[in-house]
């Protein structure tokens, strides 16, 4: 039966999931490589998981594809298949054959908050250098934000930990946004258009809240009773 191979790509937590389940293997293989070449930069440095459906693949077919992808700076790290032969061959090559069970906590958390207040992005880990969280919603981090990490939010930013990276709250001009942290020592802090003066690197170990009042940058020791 002749069917035009359909290749679907979607982003998952582990990188990209490519579905290529129908058509002959050669056609799919060629189409995939063509697609990757066309999209160029989009795939660069990607970690790809390939779902081949029930196709039985020989070691040679897998290694060939892996090496071709590798030449284009793409890592093939997993192959999903219902074929036992494909699975076994992939395993021998050190590839994964299943996706780690996805943690849905982030999604659930957002939905739960929706019932009672505004939406927030919830990140339950430390943000190390090079990580960036960008959201239209509020951002809640449980963990530290290390130097070199970055948070950008249209709403407020709450860090249950040390904030030492850079934080930009109220990015669409919302000067009601606040930034709080258990230790507020960001490399750079902005709320709306306002840029806070540089923070000292040592000495503070109490929770603080930064906000804008009458066009001025304010920092206060965090106090829930406080009236504003």
């Amino acid at each position: 039966m002749e069917t035009e191979p359909i290749i679907q790509i979607k982003g998952i937590r582990e990188g990209l999931l490519i579905n290529a389940e129908s058509g002959s293997w050669d056609e799919r293989h060629d189409k995939l490589l063509k697609l990757v070449k066309e999209k160029g930069d989009f795939f660069k440095n990607a970690r790809v998981c390939l779902d081949v459906g029930d196709t039985a693949l020989r070691v040679k077919s897998i290694t060939q594809l892996r090496d071709q992808l590798s030449d284009m700076e793409i890592t093939l790290w997993a192959i999903l298949s219902q074929s036992e032969m494909t699975m076994n061959n992939a395993k021998t090559l050190g590839l994964e054959t299943s996706l780690p069970t996805t943690k849905k906590e982030v999604v659930e958390e957002v939905e739960r908050i929706d019932d009672t207040g505004e939406k927030a992005v919830f990140v339950n880990r430390t943000l190390r250098a090079g990580y960036r969280v960008e959201a239209r919603e509020h951002v809640v981090i449980i963990g530290d934000v290390n130097p070199g990490a970055e948070i950008v939010s249209a709403g407020s930013i709450i860090v249950w930990g040390k904030l030492r990276g850079s934080a930009s709250a109220g990015m669409e001009g919302n000067t009601k946004a606040v930034v709080c942290a258990l230790e507020l020592r960001p490399t750079q802090l902005r709320i709306g258009e306002h840029v806070f003066p540089p923070f000292s690197k040592k000495g503070k170990t109490f929770p603080e809240e930064a906000y804008i009042e009458n066009d001025e940058c304010k920092i206060e020791i965090w106090n829930k009773e406080k009236e504003r």
């Binding site: 030449d71 890592t75 290390n146 130097p147």
Partner: protein
């Protein structure tokens, strides 16, 4: 035998990855383990120089990967220690000559034959880094007590965590107790506090390391060297022995403080 694959990495260049790899290899081999080091820095090889084996290279890692020789043929045996071998990097190729799955294949082939496989990672976070991380069971992140090195180490730890690799352990290299005391250098405590991973060793700043590196005689071979002893302690901790963190200086209780942090560390 099923070897542990240990990758030594740092992000920033020049913090002592290669020196650490060479010395840990020597320390483990001295204890009687069979050790293979792999130079993962293809195109800029130098582990062979530090180990003093440069004039004996016939085949290299790329030859193994491209099936021009068997793995055995690329393993150079050390002159001093029977159970120490080096698989050198190719000098004339670049990182793209090897893929992460190639590295996994090579290591899997070696696993049954040796006790420890130590991989020296190149600087940076690109292909070469990913090649060396792919087969790793344990990742040792080397950093200096400098803000820039710590920042890069933090980035590397983030990348390794994202790949769900580990355990990740920290080596702080070139610590100068007198500079730290004056507050002119980050203290090991500062570094650990930021990076929040388990500490496995602190190496004092020692000019003998430079001298021995140039001679191709790792300091761990010298029984009197203090930095050599620090490397030996790391080797012991690697195979599960408990070695207390001792003071780098004769007087200070300098490291006693973070012995506590060491116990809590890791996850």
């Amino acid at each position: 035998m099923a070897a542990n694959v240990v990758t030594i990495t740092s992000g920033k260049g020049g913090v002592g990855k290669t020196t650490t790899t060479a010395n840990l290899a020597v320390a483990l081999a001295e204890e009687g383990y069979k050790v293979v080091c792999i130079d993962g820095d293809i195109g800029l090889r130098n582990l062979d120089v530090v180990l003093g084996l440069e004039n004996r290279i016939v085949y290299d890692l790329v030859d193994v990967v491209e099936n021009r020789c068997r793995i055995r043929q690329a393993m150079i045996r050390d002159k001093r220690l029977e159970e120490l071998y080096l698989i050198p990097a190719a000098q004339t190729r670049d990182k793209s000559a090897v893929s992460p799955s190639d590295m996994i294949r090579v290591c899997d082939e070696l696993r049954e034959e040796v006790d420890w496989i130590l991989i020296d990672s190149p600087a940076g976070i690109e292909r070469g880094f990913r090649n060396t991380i792919a087969p790793a069971d344990i990742i040792l992140v080397v950093t200096n007590p400098e803000v820039s090195a710590v920042r890069d180490a933090d980035r590397i730890i983030g990348l390794v965590e994202a790949e769900e690799k580990g355990p990740i352990k920290l080596i702080i290299n070139r610590v100068n107790p007198s500079l730290t005391k004056r507050g002119d250098m980050l203290s090991p405590e500062d570094v650990i506090e930021l990076l929040a991973i388990e500490l496995i060793g602190v190496i004092p700043d020692d000019e003998n390391v430079v001298i021995s590196t140039n001679r191709g005689q790792p300091v761990a071979l010298d029984p009197k060297s203090k930095s050599g002893q620090s490397f030996k302690n790391i080797a012991k901790r690697l195979h599960g022995e408990t070695v207390p963190f001792t003071s780098l200086e004769d007087k200070g209780d300098f490291l006693a403080k973070f012995a506590g942090i060491f116990k809590q560390g890791g996850d």
